[in-house]
Amino acid sequence: MASSVEPTTPRVMAQGLTSASKASTARRALRLARRKPLGAVGLGLLAILCFVAAFAPLLAPHDPYESISGARLLSPSFEHPMGTDNLGRDLLSRIIHGARISLLIGVFAGALGTVGGLVVGVVSGYAGGWVDSAIQRVVDSMMAFPGLILALTLVATLGPNLRNVMIAIAVGSIPGTSRVIRGAVFSVKEEDYVSAARALGAPGWRVAVFHIIPNVMAPVLILASVAFGTAIIAEASLSFLGLGAQPPTPSWGVMLSGPSRRFMTDAPWMAVFPGLAISLVIFGINIFGDALRDVLDPRLRG
């Protein structure tokens, strides 16, 4: 009997643990949502953005590029809930497809900027000495430029397209991110477990990767959420200035630029709905980021 029970026991126990863990996670998430309702709203808005972006072709009632005959500058109606633009294109469909671009930019530029900042910050903070000084002088010089100006310069140099916009936004966010992470690394590297790892002979890279980085993840996650929102706004700003996504790409920034300004008095919906989409997503990201900070930052825990 014992031999027939023994092989199944760990699996049963594991299943039991998993179920208990799932239930516990769900309960914790629910508790968290109750405690941070705004954060839950933010997460909900982000979830909607992801859903809309993922299923854009299925959700959009029209081709976002198609000019519909006789549909120029139609005000919002049942057929076109957000109206049409000056080229007879359905605005709802363009905003739905625009979510893909915003998500793409937010995720890739945000991730690239955060990872870049993490690497620079950890190397600078952990190495210290002249390496830190050298890196920080470069960071200082980059921070002398406002982020958008830096991104504008890079896009103007590299050429206006979405890939270059992502690179420019990411590079523009590296200095600020790295400065925060460097500070976190300074405090973590003095911890006993880091000293213990060093004393056991762990090489520097191992200490950084396995002991420093995991313990600075709280600020990294918060910075990532900020970078996500900043990237979306930066893309909209660059596109608005004609240096981001190019027409006829249905980017929210492109939709806010040229034609919507020209037709502001006759067709305000051309500017209102893309503006609303940007505002909602940024609002969602900000309140989610705030909640994340409250949860992850030990100093802010009740």
């Binding site: 590029y65 109606s77 080229l87 190019q246």
Partner: protein
Amino acid sequence: MSNYWTKRRLSRRTVLRGSALSGVSLLGAALIGCGGDDDSPSGGTSTATGGGSGVVTTGTPAPSADANVKRGGEVILAGGDLQRLDFQATISTPTQNASSLVYSRLVRYDPYTGANDYGIIPDLAESWEVESDRITFHLKQGVKWPNVDPVNGREFVASDVQYSYERVATDGPEWVHAYKMDPISSIEAPDDYTVVMNLSRPSAGLLSDLASGQGMGLVPRELVEADGDLDTRWIGTGPFMLDRWEQGNRIRFVRNPDYHEDGYPYVDAIEWRFITDSSTNLANFIAGQLSYYALPSLEALRQVQSSTDAMVQTFANLGGTHKMFNVREDGPNPALADVRVRQAIDYALNRQDILDFVLGGDGNIAGPVMPVGYGDWSLSPDEIAELHPENLDEARALITAAGADGLTIEHDYGNTSAFSEDEAPIMQQQLARVGIRLELLPRERTVYLQAQVDGNFSFQGIGMGGYPDPDNFLYPVFHSTGSKNYGGVDDPELDARIEEQQGILEHEERVEFIKNLDRDWKDYLYRIYTVYPNTHQAWSSQIVNPFQPKGWDWRGLQAVAFK
């Protein structure tokens, strides 16, 4: 579906009717401005070319001033700043427009003929004879330069004309209007009141070029010799004198008491404020701060009509954005050297959709070189529609025949052009239907212009103004030696036809020749013309004798007065 826009949009029929009536409405607006008095300043006009070789053509004298018109007041306009004052050495439009108030020419356009009718009336020449090998001008006698140093009120004479046009014809890149002097082999002044221009070739468009406000003003030799150029002072025989030019702020003119057309000008001063922002100008016009406003859009037109009792004039715009091919065999896209590919693109376009989407129906469809509304020179809208129909099957067949299936074309345009920004995506959709992929490349203006000059483009949107003579739409652009032949056109047959029309002095014969060239344009198609917008301009309801500025000539302001 009914909504704000569709309730108000203009149908094509309405627009065409509006265009057809524009000439009438323009004149009507002028008469309305006259308050019922028969004080229209318009006199009879002659066309630029009338009569064949050796036939005398004389302009009708300009009308005399009306003693009953109220005098005084100051007309306020808005526009861009001048690049420099020396109008003979710049193409700056504000410079040309402003100089037309100070400097007279031999002949000028009648500002009160129908829209886009460049009828010519006398200015400093009271009559002229056009022949195949020369034009002889007989000057008005007793015309004085202003009584200021260095001209000190001396009489205007034939040698002034000789000097002015020899200066325009100076060799060098600065002398941007020299090409207009190309047909002239020499200028003689047999006496003080006669100017003879000997021609190296017959030139049907020369008289019209001389009437243009672009670089053709007559200047005194003493002024240029004293100052070195015209950048310091302006001294002319026009209706106004330059009072002050405050760069970045305004330019102001005051009445010339010695003006040679008695009784003019009616107003005391003209001020051009350097404001180019259209919304600011719209607000200023609605607030009564401007006497004139060139409406940039239908939306602005609606606001003016709903907020003011301004006089609005509508006419076909001869300027627009052409689509220029680079047809060089070794160009970036050699497929475009094949006329069948260009024809396929032409067939794939639905011009009515472009007109509706891009201009809200407020304009005319195009196709041939000469725009609709261009006086006698235009084909009718119906004929244009027949010559340039949408035919997707034909387009696909032509692409296949040319071996260009799967063709990709880069379409670049200046990123500040609102028209191209709207038109390009529509063309992209339309060409996709026949398997042509149009890549849109909005370019920063200097990059775009450099690509144009270098011939480093495939298919470029290029803005062109309207011109008084049809030769301006042909020779500079399509002749193998033309100064604006950026697309590398080198077609001996077309060269010959362009040269031939230059030599036809008989107006009707030339009109028919140009129309036949337009009918055959499908065999050339070095540029594609899709649509032209309408132009709307508004004059304050307080203004009498509103006019249509044309050919860089604002001399009509001499007859403008306040009620």
